[in-house]
């Protein structure tokens, strides 16, 4: 059993300034890094002799339009089964330069998770062997999970905002 504190001490000693915004929301260690370092961080955690974050739980994206210059986020959840500790790694990208290295070289399972993230957010995973849409139709020409596509028709007038707060 390894505590979050031990992981933090080790990765901060190893990466220093490359990791920032260290948090622990609801007990899950969260760090943010930059695109240039993500491959290095993930391989380091994967190969670490003590922590052994050998399981990639999830890759997903997020779109925060108000976060100017870093509108898109890619979020990795990793898990060490031997030590039962999880870590969440975030990378934020600008909407003008929306690409990030693919993890398919390290984890075979990253393939579809990255395709899904690409499908919904348009985040380009460089080095991915088969980056194409997975759940949506191939002909789709937009990325539906982006916040600029509201779910409800904005022109609808039969709902009174003052009463229902929509």
């Amino acid at each position: 059993m390894v505590s979050n504190q031990e992981v933090v001490e080790d990765i901060v000693a190893h990466f220093g300034e490359k990791l920032f915004n260290l948090e622990e929301p609801y007990g899950l260690l969260t760090v943010t890094t930059q695109r240039e370092n993500i491959l290095e961080v993930i391989s380091y955690l994967n190969d670490h002799e003590k922590f052994r974050f050998t399981f990639l739980t999830d890759i997903t994206g997020i779109h925060i339009p108000d976060n100017k210059g870093a509108e898109f986020g890619v979020i990795y959840h990793m898990h060490s089964w031997e030590n039962n500790v999880r870590i969440r790694i975030k990378v934020f990208l600008s909407e003008n330069d929306i690409n990030i290295p693919s993890m398919t070289g390290i984890f075979a399972g990253a393939n579809w998770m990255e395709r899904e993230t690409f499908d919904f957010y348009g985040i380009i995973f460089t080095g991915h062997p088969n980056l194409k849409r997975i759940l949506n139709i191939d002909e789709m020409d937009y990325f539906p999970m982006r916040k600029e596509y509201p779910l409800e028709d904005a022109t609808r007038e039969d709902k009174i905002d003052a009463l229902f707060g929509r």
Partner: protein
């Protein structure tokens, strides 16, 4: 020159017989398995490249029943998202429901009373039993044994009757509320659960296992078919029974106990080869372990309330709504989704029928999630399917798909 040297193997079968490599420059047959095929048990397509009757490679096309749950969730108040989770793994919806409730309760900081936690454990384990019963019996159907399916179907019907007692629905259950359950275990439900786990299910499982476990035909069809090593399974993101069949004993219930799972004494069945037979045996083992958990939970069911005293999030009793002003206000605000959740970021995992069902919720302090992502185990492990089928025949591919328990709703979300 002998006669044998003149034969150029063009199919994998001939190559195997002659122990020579396959000659590359010949045509493969493209075969579509699905989108609607009786063996896929759901709508997804596999485009297989066949060499004779051997599978060379394959590519899956998924997304036929994609319903954009993650997008819809961004406009819905939290309690309305429960109905979306039902429709992911519809063979074990209560697990998804409670996984979602646990996520929101973690965000809101609600402590669920012990009795509600035990009731949840009972319902989740019944859901796991029904999920595994379906998977294993369908595997029987796909390998040519129909009656096993009919044996266990009546048991699943009994589980569905218990769901009806608990929430009124059978398939898409929408069970439980934030902070507990919407109703207590009724005496009828307790009697039905007792009868199921003490009498009928152990008897039927005995018959079912007698029919399959050492059956020559079944073993020939499943042993060493579609094996995967533990390491490879881990790289592919396998969780749940499919991973445990490959020999890794990762179980969310044990690793990160939620809803009082730490109170119960149960084993994690594991396999060796990760093949179809091991997956079948692991699921059967888990049905027995689940029954053990349900028995313990019923025996030690704590007294007390079945919901948390959280006026802001738990609907007040209807009687109160008509008589009490406060209750009426809370009722209205909850139903209209007018109560904001705190800002925060939560990941909650539960052990679903197929593995780790994860909920990644980002709240910006509004009435609906800012971002909600479902980690669906089927979606992640199904990508290993072509690798597992390589060099096998179509009938093996069908058995492998059944034993992986790919649920279309969970695959596509």
């Amino acid at each position: 020159m002998t006669d044998q040297e003149l034969i150029i193997p063009t199919t994998a079968n001939e190559a195997l017989a002659l122990n020579q490599p396959i000659v590359e420059d010949h045509e493969y047959t493209t075969l579509n398995l699905g989108p609607t095929h009786p063996a896929t048990h759901g709508i997804f397509q596999n485009i297989l490249q066949m060499d004779g009757d051997r599978i060379v490679s394959g590519e899956q096309t998924v997304g036929y029943i994609h319903r954009a749950f993650e997008k819809i969730a961004e406009r819905r108040p939290f309690y309305q998202i429960t109905t979306l989770t039902d429709r992911m793994n519809y063979c074990s919806s209560p697990i998804n429901n409670f996984g979602w409730h646990l996520t929101v309760e973690k965000l809101l900081g609600i402590n669920v009373p012990k009795r509600a936690q035990y009731i949840r454990v009972i319902m989740m384990e019944l859901a796991r039993i029904s999920d595994h019963l379906i998977c294993n019996s369908i595997l029987g159907v796909d390998t040519g044994a129909y009656s096993g399916f009919l044996y266990v179907m009546q048991e699943r019907e009994k589980i569905y009757e218990i769901y009806e007692e608990m929430c009124g629905a059978r398939l898409t259950t929408n069970m439980g509320r934030f902070g507990g359950m919407e109703r207590d275990l009724s005496p009828t439900a307790i009697a039905k659960i007792r009868d199921l786990v003490n009498n009928s299910l152990p008897r039927i499982m005995g018959e079912f296992e007698k029919m399959f476990n050492r059956n020559r035909i079944f073993m020939d069809r499943t042993v060493n078919v579609g094996g995967i090593t533990g390491k490879r399974a881990m790289e592919y993101g396998f969780t749940g029974p499919n991973l445990r069949a490959a020999g890794i004993d990762y179980d969310v219930r044990v690793m990160e106990p939620y809803s009082s799972y730490e109170d119960f004494d149960f084993e994690i069945p594991v396999g060796h080869n990760g093949d179809t037979y091991d997956r079948f045996m692991v699921r059967n083992g888990e049905i027995h372990e689940s029954m053990k958990i349900v028995r313990q939970a019923l025996e030690n069911l704590p007294e007390g309330p079945y919901y948390a005293n959280e006026d802001h999030y738990y609907l007040p009793p209807k009687r109160e709504v008509y008589r009490n002003m406060e209750a009426l206000i809370y009722h209205f605000k909850i139903v209209m989704g007018e109560i904001d959740a705190p800002a925060g970021e939560v990941y909650q995992a539960v052990e679903g029928g197929n593995g780790e069902v994860g909920f990644y919720l980002v709240s910006d302090g509004g009435r609906a999630p800012f971002r909600l992502h479902f980690r669906r185990p089927s979606f992640i492990y199904y990508q290993a399917y072509p690798e597992m089928c390589k060099g096998l025949t179509i009938s093996d591919a069908v058995a492998i798909m059944s034993s992986l328990n790919v649920i279309a709703g969970e695959l596509d979300a």
